[in-house]
Amino acid sequence: MARAGTNLRTNYVEANEVLRRPYQRVLIVIVLAGALLLPAASSTYFVHLLDLCLLSAIGALGLMLLTGYCGQISLGHAAFLAVGAFTTVILTVHVGAPFVVVLPAAALSGALLGFIVGLPSLRFRGVYLAISTLAMHYAIIYLATSYQAKFGSSATAGITIPDPSIGPLVLAGDHAWYYFLLVLTALITAGCVNLVRTRPGRAWMAIRDRDIAAQALGINLARYKLLAFMASSSLASLSGSLLAYYSNVVTVEKYTLDLAVIYVAMIIVGGMGSILGALLGAIFITLLPFGIDSLFGYLPRAWRFGSTLFGVQVGAVGVCIIAFLLFEPKGLAEIWRRIETYFDRWPFRYRPLETARR
């Protein structure tokens, strides 16, 4: 049976497939193998950058589920990262809980808070919902600041967290973290892909497209909207907790509104409504400032400083958002799909119609 191309799914069987063609399976194997071998061929500095990419990828996946698939705009992502980080602090410092307990606990606390933050979504939509998530952001950050201040003066520069250990193994050093994060991200990605192609995902997409119609079809709006918020916030908390362990320091000053906007930029640039987009967007936006840094390294020294470099780095994210929304609204994922389709149909430019074949 002739198929209409890799990306066009024309029946339920195809809609449920994760990998459509043999070449995609080969591609995944190549990518994973490459990812495993990459650290051997790069400097520790680059592995550190990759670690940062993987950490943001987890958070970006969360936001993608909420905003890309369910259509609920949230500006509170930074607050959930903070929740994960501070849960880690509370559990490691006051209770002394081990790594394997803290991570799920952080995810759980994130889910709980996500439930609370998601409640306004039952009443509001669109910009009103965005503003209510903003209010929640300020509330959570206020609590976190008070906590850090009460922690004692030694927390001026942040609260220190020791390196995590799983049994006798200590997770320290960029390389060790890289492999750990790679496996974890791969598992989470697989989980998200499954979430998205089964009932929750379909319900979310229905809600995103026209929630009144979705409700008329029998989808329980409250249940799925809250589920989206909880999934998103638990992933974000997980990411925040991992970052806390990775950098060994937690400080509330890191979790600003700008950080939430950067995550939104990741899913826009990656392509809303695509898991691959979340990963691509996270890598792109994370590496962007460092890329600009390197580019500036080729310019005469005077240009590097006096706000020009920093300004360009800040502005680049904004320019990316605008450029992608205007010219490539479906993001990097769409670019990838176009490349895929080009090779799939080559040497033809269009797929011949089924009727034309007879």
Binding site: G152, T156, L309
Partner: protein, 398 residues
């Protein structure tokens, strides 16, 4: 595939490739140190002149022939006030540029992570301007500071305001950050132990219109108001305080507040007389050989930012670096440099009240603080007290 796609793809490829590009490494026959600070971010106005002061010293040093004929190369990186970038820059400098020590740093929130990371690889880090408790006893290894630690500053200010008024009500202001609250809490304990009453007003970090907060302060009828924040806030708070009817003394805690800001703030408030300033290092108006030396270097090499006490701070750090490297000898390794710094004593030549002294248990050492008052008719700051020596925190941190 259309052209836009391929263009975007190419651009993305280029950017990714660039992140892997190597930076130029420095020459082998010189000392290599790193300097990371905020050169372009929100607080660049305070941190850039500190770097310039350091750079002036190194330039003068290299022109003299360096340390026993070996020049000093500084690898400069910008952290934009972000902890992630500071850590990434520190790792890069440690691994690719092979620096033997790292100097400078910026806001306290960036210092913790950098100290922690460099401790792992054994690179000594000496900060100036801001400082965090890592350097105070019990001092953490490889972490040093010649700068202004909030807790110490808070206590010093508490003691110095005796020179303004011996008793009364003190109202402290700061913004809602961990550092600000830390400074306030030590300030409070010190003044209360000296017999003053204390109250405080804390405002959100992003405040620009200080009128309601100033009115809240004026309502408390203070005898002295102390402000624990940077340049910008002082510029907004002082006129707001005057507008709300408070005409009494106002003390600027110098966390990177330049003389220029004080002049501007006084002007905005209507040519004010009651503006005081507490700092660890001399101001540019002080007459002593140390300041004259820095001023001369600034004239000779030129700086982008107007001459301020921040340059003096950076210069002193440069002097510290030279002493450390000289003591290390050639070839210098990180461990050896660390050993040298632990027992280093650097004369300040008038730039602060006494020498900077490190010891194995105390990576901060005694610090000297002085109170100045802004004399508007003479358009300069004048000392109002002697140098106050702080050897340890009176109210140790839990």
């Amino acid at each position: 595939m259309n052209r836009l796609t391929s263009r975007t793809f190419f651009a993305a490829l280029v950017l990714t490739a660039c992140t892997c590009s190597a930076n130029v490494a420095s020459a082998q026959n010189s000392y290599v140190v790193g300097y990371i600070t905020d050169l372009s971010g929100p607080l660049a106005d305070s941190y850039t002149p500190t770097w310039e002061g350091f750079e002036l010293y190194i330039k003068a040093l290299n022109d003299r022939g360096g340390i026993d004929g070996k020049k000093v190369d500084v690898v400069l990186d910008d952290d934009g006030l972000k902890a992630d970038r500071a850590v990434a820059a520190a790792k890069k400098q440690a691994e690719r540029d092979n620096v033997v020590g790292i100097f400078g740093l910026s806001l306290s929130s960036t210092q913790g992570p950098v100290y922690a990371e460099m401790r792992k690889v054994g690179v000594p880090v000496v900060t100036t301007f801001s400082g965090i408790l890592d350097a105070l006893p019990p001092s953490k290894p490889f972490s040093y500071s010649t700068g202004v630690v909030f807790e110490v500053a808070g206590e010093a200010i508490g003691e110095l305001i005796k020179n303004i008024k011996p008793n009364g009500k003190v109202v402290g202001m700061t913004f809602d950050s961990v550092g600000g609250r830390a400074a306030i809490s030590h300030n409070k304990r010190m003044v209360e132990s000296l017999g003053y009453t204390w109250d405080e007003v804390i405002f959100p970090v992003t405040t620009s219109d200080f009128t309601p907060f100033a009115q809240a302060v004026a309502e408390k009828k203070p005898d002295i108001v102390v402000g624990h924040y940077g340049s910008g806030q002082n510029l907004g708070v002082i006129p707001a305080l005057r507008r709300s009817g408070y005409a009494g003394p106002y003390v600027i805690a110098s966390y990177g507040v330049t003389e220029d800001t004080v002049r501007q703030a006084a002007q905005r408030a209507g040519n004010d007389q009651n503006v005081y300033y507490v700092t660890r290092y001399s101001t540019v108006y002080d007459v002593n050989p140390g300041v004259a030396e820095v001023a001369a270097a600034q004239k000779k090499y030129g700086t982008a930012k107007p001459f301020s006490s921040m340059h003096i701070t950076g210069w002193e750090l440069g002097k510290f670096a030279e002493s450390a490297l000289k003591g290390c000898g050639w070839p210098c390794s990180r461990e050896k440099l660390d050993q040298v710094i632990q027992t280093l004593k650097v004369d300040a030549n008038g730039l602060t009240g006494g020498p900077i002294e490190m010891s194995p248990q105390d990576h901060y050492g005694p610090s000297y603080w002085r109170l100045y008052v802004w004399n508007d008719s003479a358009r300069k700051m004048e000392p109002k007290s002697d140098w106050l020596k702080k050897t340890a925190l009176k109210f140790p941190v839990q």
